[in-house]
Symmetry: C2
Subunit: 162 residues, 2 copies
DNA sequence: GTATTAGTTCGGTTTTTCCCGAACTAATAC
DNA sequence: GTATTAGTTCGGGAAAAACCGAACTAATAC
């Protein structure tokens, strides 16, 4: 019974780990740590248990926990009379996820804006008819980025109130 | 004059390249290729010009062009009486971007759903009061994924008609 | 058919990433 | 203070990623 649950947990850590590796550019063990923290939840998990559960060295766990904390994804708390740290996912993680999305889209917006500027300038200097840069793709892209950003900004408010 | 524009283009390729490297998991040169294609636009660019412009080996360009095509991001066309291939970004790239977003969110949805299942089961077996898993984070996350997915699905329709 | 050039394949090298172990520091329990 | 254990640092090694060059194939121009 207990084994079946643990097995299920491990499978989930692995699955979520691979996802984080692929989509969030995490190192394999870093992804497993983060996945473990997500699945462990608020209660947190100690350094030494991570070392055991993930079968990794202390140094690796230490390094990754630090980068995860530096990126704001992970925090820890302590219990009085217990010097261990209990690591968990930063409380307002969902808000963070939304902000990360917005950041990424903003960066893209800036780049495509600059590309448009560049292409306009190039077109104005170009003399060969029919050889101009088209701007539609970039303009549509900007439009899309605005819209999807707005949608997430709205969700930020709504979900905060939930 | 021409130099100034070329300089600007190179800067943009570099900037967009780094973005693709970081956010889209591309290899450095792969990212530069893709960036070049985006900035070159519909007219496309030949294999040999990529080799020259990016100062890379034919083999590397070849390999990356193939993976980029395999992932559906890049296509090519030919001109009659010219055996070179002209590579460019796949025409409906924006639609593709939206689909990639939806895919990613779907994957996350599935994983978090399974985590919820797991935690419910664990809670039902748990006897220690106050030691249950909380589900709010995951439930909010699912809600958010649904909403943002819906927003993008709407945009898919609207922007297609644009 | 032949020459030429576009593009591919594959083995190998360089570079980077990832992780570990051992020695170390820091904190607290006693 | 001293012992113990939590956590860190750093040098190095293994593994993976990225790129290249040389030899090759394929296509077309002539």
């Amino acid at each position: 019974m207990q084994n079946e649950l643990t097995e299920r947990k491990n499978k989930l850590v692995e699955r979520l780990g691979i996802f984080c590796e692929n989509e969030d550019n995490m190192a394999p063990l870093e992804a497993r740590i983060f996945a473990t923290l997500i699945i462990t939840g608020k209660g947190g998990i100690t350094f030494e248990k991570l070392v055991k559960d993930l079968n990794a060295s202390k140094s690796t766990i230490c390094t990754h926990l630090n980068t995860l904390q530096a990126s704001g994804r992970v925090s820890y708390f302590t219990k009085p009379g217990d010097r261990k740290r209990y690591f968990n996912v930063t409380p307002n993680r969902l808000l963070q996820v939304m902000n990360e999305m917005l950041d990424k889209w903003n960066k893209q917006y800036d780049i495509h804006s600059e590309i448009i500027e560049y292409k306009k300038e190039a077109n104005s200097q170009n003399t060969i008819v029919g050889d101009e840069f088209e701007l539609q793709f970039h303009e549509k892209y900007l439009l899309f980025l605005e819209e999807v950003s707005n949608a997430v900004k709205k969700l930020k408010k709504n979900i905060a109130e939930l």
